[in-house]
């Protein structure tokens, strides 16, 4: 009982620390630096402490201080309550979703079973979808409650876009579920030991579609029609400032992490290294680290592998974001319903056919 509790608390602290403490502040910096790299610029390097800038890493701190001291502005005629709730509605699901994503396998440590997932739900994927959909309420409520026409248009666009892409995303997941035969993300991860069992090889079309839809669902460029700064000023968060604005912003960044983690889990072998099974890892470390030591080392390697893959997909999303121009609203919808939906359906059909023949 007590070890279970300690294990859970440690896992929650770990994920919370990685997401809120590391990824969400650092991604702002990464985005600046990466865009700068792609555009022949230097990027953020002004914030300094006693003359030390450490390649602009003080910027997240400077941003945090700036944001915390900003006026919390609510426009006239806005619905104060809903206007305040909206950013929370947007951020919370992004934090929660990570609870069902495994960041490592299952290990036996000091006679205690460790499962590196906060909540090993047997409907893990559905749980993520449920919470991702809740996130869209934040955009809609924020847009509606601001009493601003631009916010309103942005909120409408956001809701329509997220609804449409959720459908396609859901259909893509069906292909994965059919192949692995489970909704439990830890099991899906555990099945991808062999490189050719990775989702990318079993569901290549599904991967491309899922990744694209996930970016669209997260409303980042090229699908950022809901905030399209040149058309709608800033879309649904036009009237937000200070910490509430940052909550939308953090929600977006955490969703990048969640999407990357999900793609890694379902399509890129989760915590497995290619050609190296967990058993091989443990055997390798057994030579010099002892029983528990080997398990711990293998666990660390798995966690690092997992997050390395996550970082890769974050990088990929950033690159896409800084390369492509923005779609038009109707083109986004057409792409979702007329292109992705039929392809996803055909994908399911072919997957079924292959499974049947096998």
């Amino acid at each position: 009982m007590i070890p279970d509790l300690i294990e859970s608390i440690l896992k929650i602290l770990f994920i919370f620390g990685v997401n809120i403490g590391f990824f969400s502040p650092i991604l702002g910096w990464v985005e600046r630096k990466q865009s700068a790299l792609m555009q022949d610029r230097v990027g953020a390097n002004r914030a300094d402490i006693f003359g030390f800038t450490i390649i602009g890493l003080f910027h997240p701190i400077a941003d945090a201080i700036k944001v915390l001291t900003k006026e919390d502005f609510i426009p006239d005629g806005a619905d104060r309550l809903i206007h305040t709730i909206a950013p929370f509605v947007s951020l919370t699901p992004a934090i929660i979703a990570f609870a069902v994503i495994p960041f490592g396998g299952q290990y036996e440590l000091f006679g205690h079973k460790v499962n590196l997932i906060i909540a090993d739900l047997d409907v893990g994927i559905l749980f993520i979808f449920a919470f991702a959909s809740l996130g869209s309420f934040g955009a809609v409520l924020g847009g509606w409650a601001s009493n601003n026409n631009w916010s309103f248009l942005g909120g409408l666009r956001a809701s329509a876009q997220m609804l449409s892409y959720e459908v396609v995303m859901g259909l893509n997941i069906i292909g994965v579920i059919m192949v692995y035969g489970t909704l439990r993300l830890s099991e899906i991860g555990a099945m991808q030991v062999d490189l050719f069992d990775w989702g990318i090889f079993l569901q290549p079309v599904g991967f491309v579609l899922f990744f694209t839809c996930a970016i669209a669902e997260n409303k980042r460029a090229p699908f950022d029609v809901a905030e399209a700064e040149s058309e709608l000023v800033a879309g649904y968060f036009t009237e937000y400032s200070g910490l509430k604005f940052v909550m939308f912003w953090m929600g977006e960044f955490l969703e990048i992490v969640t999407i990357s983690a999900l793609v890694t889990t379902m399509f890129f072998g989760a915590w497995h290294l290619p050609f190296v099974s967990d058993k091989m890892l443990v055997d390798f470390f057994l030579g010099f680290a002892g029983d528990n030591g080997a398990t711990i080392l293998a666990m660390v390697v798995n966690i690092i592998t997992f997050f390395a893959k996550v970082v890769f997909f974050i990088w990929l999303q950033m690159t896409i974001r800084w390369t492509l121009p923005r779609f038009r609203y109707d083109q986004v919808m057409r792409l979702g319903w007329k292109m992705f939906l039929p392809i996803a359906l055909i994908n399911i059909f072919i997957t079924g056919l292959v499974l049947l023949v096998k």
Partner: protein
Amino acid sequence: MSDSAKDLHSEHMVINMGPSHPVTHGTVKFLLTLEGETIVDMKVDIGYLHRGFEKMCENGTWEQVMPYTDRLNYVSPLINNVGYALAVEKLIDIDVPERCKYIRVIASELARISDHYTNIAASGLELGAFTAFLYFVEARELIWDLIEMMCGARVTSNYVRIGGIKNDLPDGFKTKARESFKRCRQLWADVDKLLTKNRIFIDRVRDVGIMPPDEAIAWGFTGPCLRACGIPYDVRKFHPYLVYDQMDFEVPVGAKGDNFDRYLVRMEEINQSMRIVEQAMEKIPSGPINVDMPEYRWQSKDDIGNRIESLIFHFKTVIEGIKPPKGEIYSAVEGANGELGFYLVSDGSGKPYKCRVRPPCFPLTAAMPRMVKGGFIADIVPTFDMINMIGGECDR
């Protein structure tokens, strides 16, 4: 539509786009009537950058107008300088020396290149292609370095003078220009890859903001926007001024008159302008850069210090201004946006009686509602970018 949908109370949304809106740079206001995302009606409201240019001109001498022209189209001020100088020279009937003409051509074309860079870069930026923006900003920076080398300023150039130019090309300009163009061409190729074949970009600009050729003429379109409709009207070809008739360059034309054609025309014009600059730098003769007419153009400082006639003329032209003969004149040059015309009236005094500018982007801005009505809000972005409305020039 079902009956219940008909019974629903609905009304159009009237919304102010601008004057402080990310897309209405150059400061303009669109009063939009929307049905959902579709634009039902649009009214353009200009004048936010009106500074009374034409009235200011009447209160200064003919020479003093020159810095004001920098602030017309502030992205390509050198063309405005050249346009105004040519108009006054036509009024007086001056023929500037050959070397001066070549330098003016080089200056105009550099300005045109930087204008097109800015325009395409900004369009990319507003369509979300931030990387393309910065690539072209780097290229524009190189061109601005050249302009700075030439006249000492980057934006407010004030380079051309009536009857000549401020100074000759500096040493090493030719080499520097060659090096810069090399890098500019690389950047051009990069942006070409990022935008011209980019499906998303094409979807955003193709078949958007279409203007049929006959209507374009009726609205008074000129420049890249008219050429995009397939009409090869270019002042440089149809009414050659300076030494454009001796230059080998082509006038790109579009087929449909949509935003994609406007984009392509501008991209190609960058190349053609580079060709012109390179030819001009090859052919440029040596010789004086100013006319030898002391009543209109200052003599050299050396002469002013040593020759009494030069000193008197200098004194007279600075205090009273040069005095063109009575008369009126219209003279046009090919600005980066289209035909930039100056209509000047002289009453024989040292100040212009009237200095009217025909801004190329005024008719283009006026045609905005015609081009976007029935489209989406998002279509305003590329259309307004591609007509390249410059507040300083449109409102004056």
